[in-house]
Structures are given as structure tokens and as C-alpha cells.
């Protein structure tokens, strides 16, 4: 256990030793700030039932920078170690394969949380400036951020998987981006074919991150997406673990 935390600490530190982390953080906040401002602007123009938090989280714009962050956050996790050869020193230290995989995953998750924490300030600032609440209830905040955490957990695990496959960071980034987009844009199918088969529609709805966010940002907690994302995450991590082990066996 102590070794896991040593590794985790190293992973988290590693992010902040690199300029990429700050560039991602900066761009992420800038773009999200812009999206937030657009949402508030839209609410200003017309009378609406939507709250500020819905305008921000339940906006299609939110997802573009969102999807891009995952490949950037996860591409180096394994690939860099393969490339530098440090995987050899790492795996000849007395640490288990599982500890290595999990430390990398949780390191990425920690950085992902750091990305989102400052966005809460938007709502605080909104509240301070306008004197109005950004949401009707606290559960809207809770729901929105919980869903971001769940979706993030899953997409980060996809990123881990892609990175464990190759020693080339660019390849890892492209593979993870493609997989994440594939998962994400499943939900767009319902927009493109609104009259699709009812059964198909149900399945797509079950996988649709956009629909989940529509619910969660209203403070509606649905247990199905929670189960979905947690189980998909566990499955993907399981795959990552086996691919990681297999690489050494095969070599």
C-alpha cells in the first residue's frame, strides 16, 4: 500500500513538472470560462426556466474542450515509460503490476479533478456579481460535478488503455480520442435519427452522456448512468491491466 502511494505521489507530481499540465489547465479554464459566459449571455437575452448551471453544463459546447482533455492528460502515462525505458527500472522494483496501473490511473484522475475545481469559482463569481443563485438547489451542483467525475473516470480509463498499448504518445492520444469520440457520439445518433427504432433509441439513451448530463444538471440522480460508468471504468481498467502484463510476456 505504501508503494502505491509512493507511485501515486510521483504520478501527480509528474504532471506538475511538465509545462503541458499548465497549458492544458490554462486553455481548459479559458475555454470553459468563455462557454460559461456564452451560457449566461443566452439566459440574459430571453426569459427562460433554465438555471445558470444547466446553461453551462447542459450545453453542447461544453463537450468539445472536454473530450480533448482526456488524450492530453493520459497519453504519456505508459507510453512515456515504454519509450524512455524507465518501465524497466519501475518493474524491477518490488511493485506489483496492479499498483503501477492503478497509480497511473488515479494520478490522472487527480489531475482531472484539479482541472475542474476552479470552474466552481464561475458560479461563486456569478453569485457575488449578480446576487442571484446559479442553481435552484445544491443537488444541481452535486449532480453536475458527480456526472463529470463519472464520465471522467470512464474516459480516463480509456486513455490509460490506449497509452498502455503503445510507446508512441501521439498514437496513444489518437487512439484514445477516437475511442472516446466513438463512445460519446453514440448519443448524437438520436439527434441525427430522431425517429429511430424505439429499442435502439433506448439503448442509445442509456449510453448517452449528453442525456445523462441533462438529468444530472437538474439535480436528478439516476442510478443507471452511475452503474454504467463505474462498470465500464472497471472493465477498461481490467483490460489495461492485462494488456500491461501481456506486453512483458510477449516481449
Amino acid at each position: 500500500m505504501r508503494r502505491f502511494f509512493t507511485l501515486l505521489k510521483r504520478e501527480i507530481r509528474h504532471y506538475f513538472h511538465q509545462p503541458l499540465a499548465y497549458i492544458v489547465l490554462f486553455c481548459f479554464l479559458l475555454i470553459n470560462g468563455f462557454i460559461f459566459q456564452l451560457g449566461v449571455g443566452a439566459l440574459n437575452r430571453a426569459v427562460s426556466q433554465t438555471t445558470v448551471i444547466e446553461a453551462f453544463f447542459d450545453s453542447i459546447l461544453l463537450w468539445f474542450p472536454f473530450l480533448l482533455t482526456f488524450p492530453l492528460v493520459t497519453m504519456r502515462l505508459f507510453s512515456e515509460e515504454y519509450k524512455l525505458g524507465t518501465i524497466e527500472t519501475l518493474m524491477t522494483a518490488p511493485v506489483g503490476d496492479l499498483a503501477v496501473v492503478l497509480s497511473k490511473y488515479f494520478g490522472a484522475l487527480a489531475f482531472y479533478l484539479v482541472l475542474w475545481v476552479p470552474t466552481f469559482l464561475y458560479f461563486v463569481i456569478f453569485h457575488v456579481v449578480t446576487g442571484q443563485a446559479a442553481a435552484q438547489s445544491f443537488s444541481q451542483y452535486l449532480g453536475s460535478y458527480l456526472l463529470l467525475l463519472l464520465v471522467g473516470m470512464f474516459y480516463l480509463s480509456i486513455g490509460c488503455l490506449a497509452s498502455s498499448l503503445t510507446s508512441n504518445q501521439i498514437v496513444a492520444a489518437v487512439v484514445s480520442f477516437a475511442l472516446i469520440c466513438l463512445m460519446f457520439f453514440l448519443s448524437v445518433v438520436t439527434f441525427v435519427f430522431p425517429s429511430a427504432d424505439r429499442f435502439l433509441g433506448d439503448i442509445v439513451y442509456y449510453f448517452s452522456t449528453i442525456e445523462h448530463m441533462a438529468d444530472f444538471s437538474q439535480g436528478v440522480f439516476d442510478s443507471r448512468p452511475i452503474v454504467l460508468y463505474v462498470s465500464l471504468t472497471l472493465f477498461t481498467l481490467f483490460l489495461t491491466f492485462h494488456i500491461f502484463q501481456h506486453r512483458r510476456w510477449r516481449s
Partner: protein, 310 residues
Amino acid sequence: MIKVQNLTKRYGSVTAVNEIQFEVGKGEIVGFLGPNGAGKSTTMRMLSCYLPPTSGTAEIAGYDIFRDSLRAREHIGYMPENVPLPQDMRVDEYLRFRAALKGVPGRRIKERLADVCELCNLTDVSRKLIGALSKGYRQRVGLADAMIHEPELLILDEPTIGLDPNQIRQVRDLIRNLRRHHTILLSTHILSEVEMTCTRVIIINKGRIEVSDTPENLRSRLTKEGEILFEVNASDPAAATAKIKTLPHVKSLNSHRTQDWTRYLIQADEDLREDLHNLAVRENWRVRELTRRVATLEQIFAEITHKEDI
């Protein structure tokens, strides 16, 4: 300390290491010699629990490298070829991380760090980024990392490659000093290094162990065997050749005539210079050269490793 039995590693259809067997006792310094691609690195990687063997077993300090891998790793300090290191950490930070990872208790890390930095002459650069270090320093960081958890066994894959002669000497001295506390298995191309530091030499070629002996034994084998160059002016060259051939210990003989002089190249497994001299005096030959060429470890190495398979 190390017990290897029928260890084999195949990469697809290529057999990199073929059923090797050897044992290394506590306190030995074993030099692993072999040409590129002989299977040195693969063997070391298997022993350090990085690569799983295709078949066969090995034990490190009594722990099986496959079944008790984590335990075995605790007893090994491994420095891979080319010393892969993260570029973005400071030397002390990296060593502290490695110490914690290898299970050095928190209160002892500081002390261990100071010890290995002093031993490897890293104290001056301990606050520098690893990415900014020269090759020699990186090598020493790798060595410090291998030693930080006081392992009983050090496995060093080409510890002196790419270093300048001064640095090579420093590393060699360091290795010799380590002998008191560690068992060492090191691989190298540099034969003189093996002669100077190792208590035993294992020559490996094409995945098989060809020789496993002490440098002294190898050397005594070398001093006996050798080529003798003998150039004489005899009245009857054919008779002279026959006479030389009848000397004991002569294995083979080549002759080459230029006018009156005959040049012999004699392969023998004893030093025959005195006998040849006596013969020449007896027969009244005029001698203008009598030299012995001692085979070096290098030649033995070349002979062993160039031998073609049947």
C-alpha cells in the same frame, strides 16, 4: 545467491538464451562476457524479474524469480543497459522516490541517500535535474539507484559503456569496493575490466554458456598456450622442419621461406622457446627471431565466440 537452472528465453522462433545453468555464490563478482546479441541482457532481465523466462527457473536469495517475484526483487539492485531515467526529476528527488518504492523505511531514506550520493560522487549534483546531467553522472545515478535499498545482489548491465577512461576507472574502483557488501553480476564488452574486477568470468555466446572460470584459471590456460615465431637459417630447411615437429607439445606448424631464411609459426600448448633455442644451438642454425605471442583474453574470447556451430 543466484541459482539458474535450464533458463531459456525465446522471442518467437529466435532463442535468445538457451538452457543456461550457473550458480553464483555470496560475495562473488561475476563478469558476463559475450558479443552483442549473445543473450547477456536477456539473461539479466530475466534474473531481475523484468522478463518472464520461457522455461527453466532461477532463484535469487532463495526466492524464485517467477513465483516469488516481488520478494526476489527486494534483494536485487538492477541497473539496465543505457540507464533509463526520468528527465524531469532532480537527482535527490528521484533517489528518494526509488528508495521509498523499494521499501526503505521512511526514517532511513535520508541516511541512505547521503550514503549512496557519497559513494557515487553525486553530492554536488544532487539538486540538478537528471535531464541536464552528463552521461557519466547519469550512469552513477543509475548505480546509486541500484544500491539504495542495500540489496544483496547487484545486477549491472554494461555499467561502464559510454564512459571516458577516467570515469571507467572510477566505476571500476566503486565496483571493487562494493564487493564487501554485495554479490555482483555485471556484463561488459571490455575484457580488461573483467580481468581487473571479477572473481569469475562467464562467457556466453549464442545463448549458451561457453566458459565459466576464474580469471586466474583462464590466464594460466592462456600462458601455456601460445604461438611461437621462429626464424632460422638452416642448411637443410626440410630437415629443420621435421626436427621442430618432433619437439614435444607442438600442435601445428607453418613455415614460410624467403631465400635462406625460414619463418616458422608454431602452435604449442607449452612455452617452447628454450627448447627451440637449444635445438638451434645443437643444429648450428642461425636464428634471427624467436618470439612468443601470448594469447590474450581477447583472443580466447574471439576464438570462443567466432566458433561456428556444426
